[in-house]
Amino acid sequence: MRKILREKARELILIGVIIVIGIIVTFIMPAFFSQLNIINVLYSNAVFGIMAMGMMLIITTGNIDVSVGAQYAVSGMVVALVARATGGEQPLLAILAGMGTGMALGLMNGLIVAKLSIPAIVVTLGTLNIMRGTLNLITSGNWIDGLTGPFAKFANLRLLKPINGLGVIHAITGGKGLMVFALPLAVYIWILVMVVTYIFLYRTGVGRDILAVGGNKEAARRVGLSQTKAYLLAFGYMGMLAGLASAIAASKIKIAQPSNGTGYEMKLIAACVIGGTEFSGGVASILGTLLGVLLLGVIDNGLVLTKVPAYWQELATGVIIILAVGSSAFRTMKPGGRRAIKSGGDRK
């Protein structure tokens, strides 16, 4: 029990913070704590939540990807093109086209980072501008709309019905029924992505190798693990998820714009950092990242419900990042106040 407390301290704190914010907002605006609103929070954050899994993997390898927003925009346009060409009748085809496009872009990033040994932030800053520039050139900034048919419905599709058998539930929920499982398909896709990421990272050989490369590059080299493979997997996975997320977004808002996803990279990095992913690599937390996304989502939603101007959200996000990162930095500080300079003699 104590071990869980120590190892999952960050996650527990995040859960606590989310609950506290939830209680405060509910006091001001009771509608916050309704199943419709909670589902709304999940639904509107699925896109981020899915992409955050990819960003987490990249940060785990000791890299970063600031071009995710652009990957999301490019693949979103491809999704919309396919969806419109098929009249929205082939949602799966459109989704796969988006995932393929995103994966190709991600693999390109990974290949450049691994082969040319250029820092990922520089590479992806470059590819970010290349992707956006190319996209704007081709589309002249025009969006694709008129998405209809099954494609325009899949994100919000409810496969399961609310539980409404008992009179009690009927009464409590005001006739709507208990909707724990009656979630939009987008939310189920998000859950599936987290499960897949978990299995990948903790149960597969290549997933463990990614963690190893992130933990100690030199040691990985010395035991013959391929850094290139790890980078390609992480960046490719990120791209694929950006494509998937862009398809969900296109289905939700029924339109795709070249300017989609601007600034997403910062929000994703923020969610990962709040969730405890370490920039030095090797440490990831799927639950933490999920909570990071939810925390930002709850703040966003709470501020809207309580009619606080949206600008406050940016400010709140900033404060939370500093608090989250600051608290872990504080914990690793050595006794004696200041951090002692690392002594070269104590070889770690």
């Binding site: 440490v283 690392k342 104590d346």
Partner: protein, 494 residues
């Protein structure tokens, strides 16, 4: 002998950016032998190991044989596959993974991880070694010594035919060292060949069957251990009879310049008291982790001790931070010049004037001419070579980089200069020059504290030696004719 060697190198050379660090090395390793590889820093031991492990490629022309078969392009993956395990000095493991995973990384190639198998295997190997550990604990949570044992367990797990141990005892406690010896004997009995690198000669005489001596990238000698004694081995390593010229204070030492009373900073060190007189060099020695560097950093104001006091020239010395220390005449030459000392990519001049920019001002702005003048003065006085003030400091040799850093402190007019491993990674000639420089500083009235793990250096240069162990000063020795290194060695190990 040649035919049944498990590993053999022929005419292996290695050149890094034009500098040849290994030259035509022939080296052979028999099954079931412990083969010690000895030599000074920079002799080429680590490079040879990296070539054997496939981490570095040798120059063209060299040949590498494993069990009689030529391996034209050795890679890290291939060497592991063949059964070569290297336990690096910096313990090349994954801090973020569990002990079990570290031991078994690369052993199984299942698509899906079988944790039961991994944990079971790790436990089995550790039990075999007689080591008790929770295999599911993260590696970063255990001590460096234990990590070393994990690295050894890893080599055993891979059923290695060759195990290379690079300074395996550096972080081990004495009971762990005994454990290591037992493990080595067991492995030897099973026919495993072990390459043992250590600078502790008594260890080598304890475990080795054969010794190969490297010096400046050349193989000097390979012979059974019975053909060596300590003196012969040292002479072969350093290439001459005497290692350092003793430079002691022959006149009288003056009044107490600097004093420390009961300085304590848990957990690094406690109850440290000593004094340093004018004209004196005080040696501070001890094993890695004894708290020497931490003490130096505390005196220099990088950390703040919990209790105790310091006196400089009789007046209480309170240091807020490094800036304050420098203003008050306390200077510290750090242990790792690359990461803690040099401003890499900048000129020698800028490196020299970095902490004394206040002296390089003209009308309130930094004046390049003044800076250059300062640099030139020190280049001349302590003969930093080459005489090019604008040269990128990275392209200087280790010894000259160190001199540039000393020049930086000289310009700050130190009253107390603490030098931390001032000659590590510096060639022999430059070591001597740095020693002369420190001695002349002491003669000019600077109080010098020399931190060094190199006992011969401490002996050659210090007038008094303080031995630290586990955060305490356990021994104080005045250096005289009768003092034996052995006595001090005992003090080190406790």
């Amino acid at each position: 002998m040649q035919s049944n060697a498990v590993l053999e190198t022929k005419k292996i050379s290695k050149t890094y950016s034009g500098i040849r660090v290994l030259h035509d090395i022939d080296f052979s390793l028999m099954p079931g032998e412990v083969h010690a590889l000895v030599g000074e820093n920079g002799a080429g031991k680590s490079t040879l190991i990296k070539i054997i492990a496939g981490v570095e490629a040798p120059d063209d022309g060299g040949e590498l044989y494993f069990q009689g078969k030529r391996i034209p392009h050795m890679t890290a993956a291939k060497s592991i596959h063949l059964g070569i395990s290297v336990i690096y000095q910096d313990v090349s493991l994954f801090p973020n993974l569990s002990i079990a995973e570290n031991i078994c990384k690369g052993l199984y190639h299942d698509a899906f991880v079988n944790w039961k198998k991994i944990n079971g295997k790790a436990k089995e190997i550790l039990d075999e070694m007689g080591v008790q550990m929770d295999v599911q604990q993260k590696l970063r949570e255990i001590s460096i010594g234990k990590r070393q044992l994990v690295a050894i367990a890893r080599a055993i797990t891979f059923e290695s035919k060759v195990i290379v141990m690079d300074e395996p005892t550096a972080a081990l406690s004495s009971s762990e060292v005994e454990m290591l010896y037992n493990i080595i004997r067991t492995l030897r009995g099973k026919g495993v060949a072990i390459v043992y690198i250590s600078h502790k000669l008594d260890e080598i005489f304890t475990v080795a069957d054969r010794i190969t001596v490297l010096r400046d990238g050349e193989r000097i000698e390979t012979a059974p251990v019975s053909e060596f004694d300590q003196t012969k081995l040292i002479n072969m390593m350093v290439g001459r009879e005497l290692r350092f010229v003793p430079m002691h204070n022959h006149g009288d030492t003056g009044e107490v310049l600097f004093e420390v009373r009961g300085l304590t900073q848990e957990p690094a060190f406690r109850d440290i008291s000593f004094a340093c007189r004018r004209g004196e060099i005080v040696g501070l020695t001890g094993l890695v982790g004894a708290g020497r560097s931490e003490l130096a950093q505390a005196i220099f104001g990088l950390t703040h001790p919990q209790s105790g006091e310091m006196l400089l020239q009789g007046a209480p010395l309170k240091v807020k931070d490094a800036n304050d220390a420098i203003r008050k005449g306390v200077c510290y030459l750090p242990e790792d010049r690359r990461s803690q000392g040099l401003f890499q990519g900048h000129s020698m001049t800028r490196n020299i004037t970095a902490v004394t920019l206040g002296k390089q001002l003209k009308r309130g702005l930094i004046n390049a001419g003044l800076e250059l003048k300062t640099a030139e003065k020190y280049i001349r006085e302590i003969s930093i070579r080459p005489n090019l003030p604008h040269i990128n400091v990275e392209s200087l040799s280790g010894g000259n980089q160190q001199k540039a850093l000393i020049a930086r402190w000289l310009n700050a007019d130190p009253k107390l200069l603490i030098v931390d491993e001032p000659t590590s990674g510096v060639d022999v000639g430059a070591k001597l020059e740095i020693h002369k420089l420190l001695r002349s500083l002491a003669e000019q009235g600077v109080c010098v504290i020399l931190i060094s793990s190199d006992l011969s250096e401490v002996f050659a240069l210090s007038d008094r030696i303080l031995v630290m162990r586990q955060g305490r000063i356990v021994n104080e020795v005045a250096v005289g004719e009768a003092t034996q290194e052995g006595i001090l060695q005992k003090g080190l190990l406790g």
